[in-house]
């Protein structure tokens, strides 16, 4: 019983934390879906986000 309670507790906790992390991540995304902070360059020949697709 204790093991089940622990499992449920940690599963719920984990799910909550994962949901918070997801929301936190999504708040930082632009319209193109890219994380704004991840667009900072690694170095001078670093990859950058490809341009967002244009609607016809």
């Amino acid at each position: 019983m204790a093991a089940l309670a622990l499992t449920v507790f940690f599963s719920v906790l984990l799910a909550l934390l994962a949901a918070l992390a997801f929301l936190w991540d999504q708040r930082n995304r632009g319209e193109d879906g890219y994380d704004r902070d991840s667009l900072r360059p690694l170095d001078d020949d670093a990859p950058v986000a490809p341009p967002a697709p244009k609607l016809p």
């Binding site: 940690f10 934390l17 992390a21 930082n28 990859p47």
Partner: protein, 776 residues
């Protein structure tokens, strides 16, 4: 305004050196692995000589794979990416050369000393104490080069890869120093400062985190740099990488006790080990998803680009291994999997899949750039990928079948539940075919790796060593703060430190202090929230501010990793001692070994017997019925003076904790050690014929016993003099030689075999019951 610019030439020479060293040692590490895998399938390959026996070569394989292959690969990746991420040339050129040659010298010393049987007898920490000092010195040199480069950077903010490198350098230093604390008895031998359960906990705190902070965090840093470069996409989520880093380094350090589940380790530690291992699922998979989703929009490259192929597969193996690790840390699952080949399969999914493939991906990306050319053959690289992949699948699948199969057979009881249903040798016989498949898998992986070596050598021969360059503004200011501690004087660092201090006071303080700490932690947290909610720069700047201040960032990383280790190790060292509470020692206490037995124990350690035999009867019915000899499971006090502890991690052979009770026949042991297959045709144990000819160096015994007395082993003064030690040695060795002679075996009383027999026949008998009032 036109700024004048200057050109930085990166120090890529050092990267080339570490790359070549890694490629070379990788061959050695994998070759040794395949060879010892074949030894388990065909024991004749031990050749009956000491230097090629499994117990001595297995540490050579693990050390070569971890420290030589992956170590050099890590240094190459760190030096290459750090210069570019920090926009500066590597600092301390001379020290970087000291780092390179010092590390290769250490590897060379390891390659010489381990086959000679010079070992500390602790997994991945086998090297003898003078080499330990050298490792610590060279690691400090690495740290100086890295942090000086960091201080001279032109890029103010630290990219995620750099966080992982900082975490690695600090934590490995901490782990290595603590687990290698030893008292030397000679130039080539020492005893660990910790003993028994303390030694076990410290060893697996180190051993587990060697995987975490040597094989994982630096490679994650490399992943965060090279995967975006290879796929031409930015890392998927910056915020996920923040969560990944801090939660991973904080949680990982607690998980060491999961290597000691169902043993004599106190249950509170086992519980912590299991819970934190389960929690590790989240950050590990967060990191894996962040790596894989970086391929978003570039999945097509998986079909064409071998670099992306290797890296994506490596990250997938990382996910698989970090799913399996927590699973194996559940006590019930561990009861089945521990001490079996399942663990070997799990470990190799990580090393061959995650580390090996990440290394290959990095080499295929790096070598053409370092030599200013194109990869010689993409087809060969693709062939390498598939050979490696099939090799890993053969390896891991065969070990799963062998491990789970043997675990189930060993745990099976007779219908009335009173005895094990199968003998150990029966269970071993059944898994030998899996050992053939494992060797085949390892062989395929090796062939693939050799293809890579050929491909890269051809690539290098077709190019010219080329250093990367970067144009920067001449007057670019140094990003590091002007004063050493100025970096601490900002809200994120101060608030974080105040919360950590208060939590420590709460957890470690007594009575009023604890309450004060709790209230303080709550107030500090509320003040932090209020500060960042009310100020315009907000939460986003919280971590950004940290990233501009490398020194406090490093200190906070140290605190994050030190908390778990301290809260586990300090109470264990303080409470579970040989002169401690009878209840905590579970009513039994080990008695010191006699001089001959001690000499035998050191031979047992020298031959690496711990690689295949445990000395820990777990609190599980099948273990107790098979190995308990009517005495139940191994109590914590039964090995309380053992230096090093010998609880083991794998039972290729049976447990030996009570061998003296289970099999007191000296003649049987003599014949078995001399040629195991004479008595047990299906045994895969190496023969140890040299033990009957080798002579014990008795002159070392006084120094060894004196060292053990200094460390707290209760040898009485009157039996610890040189004369008393020699007299006792002589009387016991003659007794054993005579007992053997009575059974028709002639052997010198000074032979190493006699000492080893004395030790084996003592196991399980060197224990006395203690009552609460006897303690202290």
């Amino acid at each position: 305004m036109n700024e004048s610019t200057t050109t930085i030439r990166y120090n890529d020479e050092i990267v080339r050196r570490f790359t070549l060293a890694s490629i070379f040692w990788g061959v050695a590490g994998i070759l040794f692995g395949v060879f010892i895998a074949l030894q388990l399938a065909f024991p004749a390959l031990n050749f009956g000589i000491p230097y090629t026996s499994f117990g001595r070569l297995r540490p050579l394989h693990t050390n070569a794979a971890i420290f030589a292959f992956i170590g050099n690969m890590m240094f190459a990746g760190v030096y290459y990416s750090s210069q570019r991420l920090l926009k500066t040339r590597l600092a301390c050129e001379f020290l970087s050369k000291v780092h390179f040659w010092g590390w290769q010298f250490i590897i060379l010393l390891a390659a010489i000393t381990l086959p000679l049987g010079l070992t500390r007898g602790k997994e991945y920490a086998e090297l003898i104490w003078p080499i330990n000092i050298l490792v610590a010195v060279i690691w400090v040199v690495f740290g100086i080069v890295f942090f000086t480069t960091l201080a001279r950077r032109r890029e103010r903010s630290l990219y995620v890869a750099i966080w992982f490198y900082i975490g690695t350098i600090i934590t490995v230093a901490l782990l290595y120093v603590v687990n290698h604390l030893s008292l030397p008895t000679s130039l080539l031998h020492s005893y660990p400062v910790f003993s028994g359960v303390q030694d076990a906990l410290v060893q697996w705190w180190y051993g587990h985190n060697a995987v975490a902070f040597f094989l994982t965090t630096p490679i994650l840093g490399i992943m965060y740099y090279f995967v975006p470069k290879a796929v031409g996409r930015p890392v998927y989520s910056y915020r996920l990488s923040i969560i990944h880093f801090w939660s991973l380094i904080f949680l990982y350090i607690w998980a060491g006790p999961h290597h000691l589940l169902n043993t004599a380790l106190p249950s509170w530690l086992q519980g912590l080990g299991m819970i934190f291992s389960l929690m590790l699922w989240a950050p590990s998979w967060g990191g894996m998803l962040n790596g894989l989703l970086t391929l978003r929009g570039a999945w097509d490259k998986l079909r064409t680009d071998p670099v992306v192929k290797f890296m994506a597969a490596a990250v997938t193996f990382y996910g698989m291994a970090t799913f399996e690790g927590p699973l194996l840390s559940i006590k019930a699952v561990n009861a089945l999997g521990h001490y079996t080949d399942w663990i070997i399969g799990h470990v190799h999914a990580g090393t061959l899949g995650w580390n090996g493939f990440m290394a290959a991906g990095m080499f295929y990306w790096l070598v053409p750039r370092l030599w200013g050319t194109k990869l010689h053959s993409e087809r060969l690289a693709n062939l390498h990928f598939w050979l490696g992949m099939i090799g890993i699948l053969f390896y891991v699948a065969s070990m799963w079948v062998a491990g789970i199969g043997q675990g189930l057979s060993l745990n099976e009881l007779t219908a009335d539940g009173s005895a094990p249903a199968n003998t150990f040798i029966e269970t071993l016989k059944n898994i030998i075919p899996m050992y053939y498949l494992r060797a085949l898998g390892g062989g395929l992986y090796l062939v693939g790796y050799l293809l890579m070596v050929y491909n890269l050598v051809r690539t290098i021969r077709g190019g010219v060593a080329t250093d990367g360059t970067l144009q920067v503004a001449e007057a670019a200011p140094a990003a590091a703060p002007a004063k050493a501690f100025a970096g601490f004087l900002n809200p994120p660092v101060l608030f974080t430190l105040s919360i950590i201090v208060m939590v420590c006071v709460w957890l470690l303080g007594q009575g009023g202090w604890s309450t004060f700490g709790l209230v303080g932690a709550i107030i500090a947290t509320l003040a932090t929230i209020a500060h960042f909610e009310l100020n315009s720069y907000g939460w986003k700047q919280w971590h950004e501010e940290l990233l501009h201040n490398a020194f406090p960032f490093a200190i906070l990383s140290l605190i994050a990793v030190a908390i778990g280790g301290s809260l586990q190790i300090i109470p264990t060292v303080a409470l579970y001692r040989g002169d401690g509470d009878a209840k905590l020692l579970e009513g039994r206490r080990q008695t010191p070994y006699r001089p001959l037995e001690l000499a035998g124990r050191d031979i047992y350690v020298r031959e690496g017997c711990y690689n295949c035999h445990s000395q820990m009867i777990r609190t599980l019915k099948p273990d107790i019925l098979r190995y308990g000899a009517g005495q139940g499971y191994s109590r914590l006090g039964e090995s309380i003076y053992d230096r090093p502890f010998q609880w083991g991690s794998r039972r290729t052979g049976p447990d030996l904790a009570r061998e003296g009770l289970l099999r007191p026949d000296l003649a049987w042991h003599y014949r078995h050690l001399n040629n195991p297959r004479e008595l047990e045709p299906d045994s895969i144990m190496p023969a140890y014929p040299w033990l009957k000819d080798g002579q014990v160096d008795r002159s070392q015994l006084f120094g060894k016993i004196s060292a053990l007395r200094t460390l707290g082993v209760p040898y009485k003064a009157e039996i610890s003099t040189p004369g008393a030690i020699q007299a006792d040695y002589e009387s016991q060795s003659k007794e054993i030689a005579k007992a053997l002679a009575d059974k028709g075996i002639k052997v010198s009383a000074d032979a190493e075999m006699v000492a080893l027999l004395a030790y084996l026949s003592r196991l399980g008998l060197n224990v006395e019951p203690i009552k609460t009032e006897d303690a202290r």
